[in-house]
Symmetry: C2
């Protein structure tokens, strides 16, 4: 059964079971779209306190949905039957900041001292924006969102530091204002934008050349709108050049049982 056989109507558990069985090894974008998908960072306990502090100091870039105890492979709060070792379609394994493996499960890499950080992802707020009728060009064009290393520094914690990576979506002003309203209510998935308008003010020289993802046109009647991005913690982990860690592969997220609508604050 190929990835194409995964129905967009599949439940979150269906998606996890498909990944667990090796039937889903591709991107999770658009799958179980009403459910919260998440970034993963799996680190040795020795650096976990520093990384937790990094996330807490930079909550817009690194909104924590859950943190496990060392060695735990379940996260009951995010899914009744959830296996951190198999339920992500593709992982990345890092040694000294270098990518050494991209497996579809991490059973052979597992250690009892590993702490898993589950971090909110922009898929949830994009779902909320689309549901309110706000068009997202990269979604329409089937591209990855454009991401940039901004001049906005993160707050340092232990070995973790680096720029705030931002994602950019071009919006007309009235939609940008609505987008601020909608995403402000979703602090666990990056919350309100960090910036809008002139990219140079946050150190971005050329919108046509993103540092990650695909470029997207910004039309004359649009403003570029910038949100803190879940690539920020990945960049901080890379900066730290940890002897060992595991992340999800970009776009291959952990699909949780939480509904996006459950995240809306007041």
């Amino acid at each position: 059964m190929s990835d194409l056989a995964i129905s967009p109507a599949a439940s979150a558990l269906d998606i996890r079971l498909a990944a667990r069985a090796g039937r889903l090894t591709g991107h999770t974008s658009g799958l179980a779209a009403e459910h919260v998908q998440a970034n993963l960072a799996i680190l040795p306990a020795a650096v976990a306190d520093d990384f937790r502090r990094f996330c807490e100091l930079n909550p817009q870039a690194c909104p924590l949905l859950a943190v496990t105890a060392p060695g735990e492979t379940a996260v009951p709060a995010l899914g009744a039957d959830l296996d951190l070792l198999h339920d992500v379609p593709r992982y990345r394994v890092w040694h000294d900041g270098e990518l050494v493996d991209e497996p579809t499960d991490i059973a052979r890499w597992w250690r009892d001292d590993l702490v898993t950080f589950v971090i909110g992802c922009s898929f949830s707020f994009e779902h909320a924006l689309l549901a309110e009728g706000i068009p997202l060009r990269h979604v329409e064009q089937g591209r990855n969102v454009a991401m940039y290393r901004s001049a906005i520094p993160t707050r340092v914690a232990g070995p973790f530091s680096g720029p705030t990576v931002v994602s950019m979506r071009p919006l007309r002003a009235a939609d940008a204002i609505r987008a601020v309203q909608i995403t402000s209510r979703l602090p666990q998935v990056h919350g309100a934008p960090l910036h809008l308008g002139d990219p140079a003010l946050i150190g971005i020289r050329d919108l046509a050349r993103p540092d990650y993802g695909d470029p997207v046109e910004v039309r004359a009647d649009e403003l570029p709108v910038f949100w803190a991005c879940g690539v920020t913690p990945q960049a901080a982990i890379a900066n730290a050049r940890l002897p060992f860690c595991i992340t999800h592969a970009p776009g291959h997220m952990l699909v949780t049982d939480l509904f996006n609508r459950e995240l809306a604050g007041h």
Copy 2:
């Protein structure tokens, strides 16, 4: 006793009593600043239904705080001791769209068929922005806010029509985002901005030449942020060239017992 003797710490009732006694005839900006101040439009009952519909169709420009029955001169919901004939420091009386009088009370102009519309005012949201540490240049410079007749049309009701008049405040992007969050919670005093960024997109050719109020500098690291403005209903009333109506004089507002903080929605 001159206007200067009105303490900024005076209560809303103190302000109304000072206006009622003829001791306050000047602007109400900065007086009883925690209280909701309001625009007034006093119209014959024959056109009141159309004007109510105009306000309801254009709620960001004309947020209704209260509407009286014909001939009523009290508004208990807005103040226990509130006299619409005397409590505004200065009124404007209009015949056929022409200004014929600027009295400090309207006892001699009163008619039993007059309906009073009490409409929210930007002083309330400016108070909320300043309280959150967002600087407002026109306040710092002691100027009136810059206002423009935009190309955003109002929805027509009976004889009432015309452009949406907008007020503009220059803000840095992060403050503009905060300002959207703060003013979104205040729908009864114009709510969220209508536009930000390029003024030409809403038909404003030259920010340096406002249609009402005073120009204010927009710096290179700022965006102009535009809110619907309470001058919109005044412009619609002027357009309608009613045989007779009364408004407050600009800046000379009705000070109510409501606290600004009571307006915050969720």
